[in-house]
């Protein structure tokens, strides 16, 4: 068993990797190396890192379009993620998915989904299969407060509860569905309360405190592996940057952002464990990030002749 300090160092390093990776994405986006939509995880690192530490390699993960944090925390190679955003063939989705659709078979990372709540029914099916085949592994599904207002949230929660499926629903409540604040989306803004109507066990946790998130996730995963799934965790968190790269953030005040920045998950962790060797991790991570950029720069473009490859499987088998 790792001591708290060892875990804290690991948490810090993982969160810092996400933070610096995302900052590099901003730079590369404004240099037009990355195109399309780019949704940054800066501020929410504690949720992705905290939950991933509770999982085992066999478990399956489904995320949303704001997925870089989950993908990095799940162990997908930063080089392959950056190459994906450069649209290169060496990317984890051959350059076909981009920032919003990272896939990795080995990490059992079943992608970001750009349809809000689109992945919830998939998670239900993944867990149903595991239960039917009596496999002892769980499925984790990340989604935001916006998804909670979708019909598929209701349908999926009901099915998961009805069939007692091994699913961990993780709601990253960052208070805004793009430009619509929580109170303009939900009659009941305490989202964890909604789980009760499906008799699903729910925890509400400080999404800026990585240790709190990890603790809740461990408890939930333990319950699920014991057959008492599904479990719902609402992480109260906040994104420090705009919804995406082209957003003037008219819907929130600068002071509110500054207020939340005071509880930066990296800062909170460092205040609790001041002897974390920050510089060591900064240098280590700077190297990783530069390697990722070089890998992406040198990546190749998928030949246009392969455009139709993998529309159907026989191409895939070749």
């Amino acid at each position: 068993m790792k001591t708290d300090i060892e875990k804290a160092n690991q948490f810090y390093r993982d969160m810092l990797l996400i933070r610096r990776f995302e900052e590099k994405c901003v730079e590369m986006y404004s240099r037009e190396k990355i195109r399309g939509f780019l949704h940054l995880y800066i501020g929410e690192e504690a949720v992705g890192v905290g939950v991933m530490h509770a999982l085992s390699p066999e478990d399956a993960v489904l995320a949303t379009y704001r997925e870089h944090g989950q993908a990095l925390a799940r162990g997908i190679d930063p080089k392959r993620i950056m190459a994906e955003m450069y649209g290169k063939m060496e990317g984890c989705s051959r350059g076909r998915g981009g920032s919003m659709h990272l896939f990795d078979g080995l990490a059992r990372f079943y992608g970001g989904s750009a349809i809000v709540a689109g992945a919830l029914p998939l998670a239900v099916g993944m867990a149903l299969a595991d239960k039917m085949m009596k496999r002892n592994r769980i499925t984790v599904c990340f989604f935001g407060d916006g998804a909670v207002a979708e019909g598929e949230f209701h349908e999926s929660m009901n099915l998961a509860a009805l069939w007692h499926l091994p699913i961990l629903f993780v709601c990253e409540n960052n208070r805004y569905a793009m430009g619509t604040a929580l109170e303009f989306s939900h009659s009941e803004t305490n989202l964890a309360k909604k789980a009760a109507s499906y008799c699903i066990e729910a925890y509400q946790v400080d999404g800026m405190d990585v240790e709190a998130v990890a603790k809740a996730a461990n408890t939930a995963v333990h319950e699920i592996r014991a057959g008492n799934g599904p479990v719902f965790i609402e992480c109260l968190t906040y994104r420090f940057r705009a919804h995406s790269m082209f957003d003037a953030e008219l819907y929130r005040s600068k002071s509110e952002v500054e207020e939340w920045k005071k509880r930066d998950p990296l800062l909170l962790l460092y205040q609790k464990y001041p002897n974390i060797d920050i510089d060591k991790y900064e240098n280590e991570i700077a190297l990783i990030i530069n390697e990722a950029i070089t890998f992406a720069e040198n990546g190749t473009l998928e030949p246009v002749e392969e455009l139709e490859k993998f529309v159907y499987t026989q191409e895939a088998i070749l």
């Binding site: 705009a242 082209f246 957003d247 003037a248 008219l250 990030i289 950029i293 473009l301 455009l307």
Partner: protein, 380 residues
């Protein structure tokens, strides 16, 4: 020294108005510092700098619109170059054809089977309205278009320009694709013509045989012993044909040449050759040719002898592999033994497709032709 440019915040952003500088010249900036506020279509957005350094020069006044990528300021960096970027290599913009062409279109139009003339529905209906038989217009392999039918209406000036166009296309394709070789020889025609005159004395004028028929008969028999010249060249292989359908060059007054096929000439004797040749020429002039006569030639014979041309070097009609040219029969000096005399002499030439046959085959053919014409009785 590095330049600070207006960043692109989205594919649909072309420019923005620099509203307010957040730094002054001489200020030190750190990575991620906000350097200015810009007004975009979505509202005011803070833009940040990505290197440490000192603001050397602010190049743009506030409230001015700047395109994405235009230089806004100069920043003096302490010798720090962004290591990761390999400046030399700029990725070529990949050309991706957005409107993917359906592969099925590229497939050559269906190779039409046997009896059917390829003609657009519009051409087909127009031909019916004008009572024109499509067969008279078609040229091997080319689809007939409305314009060709319309222009073939029996108005005076360009009666068969449709046909001319089709032949022109075939000729240019031939020149482009077929590596021709040419061979020629002079043939003493006196024995053959003398023999023919004797034969014609035994026949009424209705059954009279013309030299053209004799020559065609000789070519057909020569092809029996040199079959490689009789057939098609398609998808890189030669297809020899059992039947010999020589395309005969027939002049349509004022409109040039058409080469309908004398079908199955190998089954005819000399008299039958003359009769079917006469019938073919008559039907050609009346525009009543059958489709197979338009499309199934296995070789072509041009005998422009009538019009006073001594030797003819023709262009092969694809997909055939050979063309025989027979020149005008003229009185010319001819050595026999050591004596010099005057004989009726004809130039015979052969154009061959070097992919299908070589000069040796061509020479064997001309030699056989000459030999047969020296023993005309074999041509009966």
């Amino acid at each position: 020294m590095s330049t600070f440019v207006m960043p692109s915040l989205g594919a649909d952003m072309e420019s923005a108005v620099l509203m307010e500088w957040k730094v002054k010249e001489g200020d030190r900036v750190a990575k991620g510092d906000v350097i200015a506020e810009v007004e975009t279509s979505k509202g005011v957005i803070e833009i940040e700098v990505f290197e440490e350094g000192i603001v050397e020069k602010l190049l743009v006044e506030e409230e001015t619109e700047c395109d994405v990528g235009s230089t806004l300021a100069i920043i003096r960096t302490e010798g720090e170059v962004t290591p990761a970027e390999t400046p030399a290599k700029s990725l070529p913009e990949p050309v991706i054809e957005v409107d993917h062409v359906d592969p099925s279109i590229d497939k050559a139009p269906e190779p039409y089977a046997g009896e059917r003339i390829k003609a657009s529905p519009a051409a087909r209906r127009k031909a019916k309205e004008m009572g024109i038989d499509l067969f008279s217009l078609a040229a091997a392999g080319e689809a007939l278009h409305l314009s060709q039918v319309e222009s073939s209406a029996p108005t005076e000036k360009n009666e068969t320009s449709g046909m001319r166009q089709a032949i022109a296309r075939a000729m240019s394709r031939s020149n482009a694709e077929i590596p021709h070789y040419y061979l020629g020889t002079s043939i003493n025609m006196t024995p053959a013509l003398h023999w023919l005159e004797e034969e014609n004395k035994k026949r009424s004028i209705q059954e009279r045989i013309l030299p053209a028929a004799l020559l065609i008969r000789a070519v057909v028999l020569s092809l029996k012993s040199v079959p490689e010249l009789n057939g098609f060249w398609e998808n890189d292989t030669s297809h020899l044909k059992a039947e010999i359908n020589p395309g005969i060059a027939i002049a349509l007054r004022h409109e040039g040449l058409i080469t309908p096929a004398l079908l199955n000439a190998e089954t005819m004797n000399l008299d039958q050759t003359m009769r079917s040749l006469d019938d073919l020429i008559t039907r050609t002039r009346e525009g009543k040719l059958r489709n197979t006569e338009i499309t199934q030639q296995t070789i072509t014979i041009t005998n422009l002898g009538d019009l006073g041309v001594q030797s003819v070097y023709g262009v092969i009609y694809p997909p055939q592999v050979a063309l025989v040219g027979l020149g005008r029969i003229i009185d010319a000096p001819w050595a026999e033994g050591d004596a010099l005399c005057v004989r009726k002499v004809m130039q015979a030439t052969l154009a061959g497709d070097h992919r299908a046959t070589d000069g040796r085959t061509g020479a064997k053919f001309l030699d056989k032709l000459n030999d047969l014409l020296q023993h005309p009785e074999e041509l009966l």
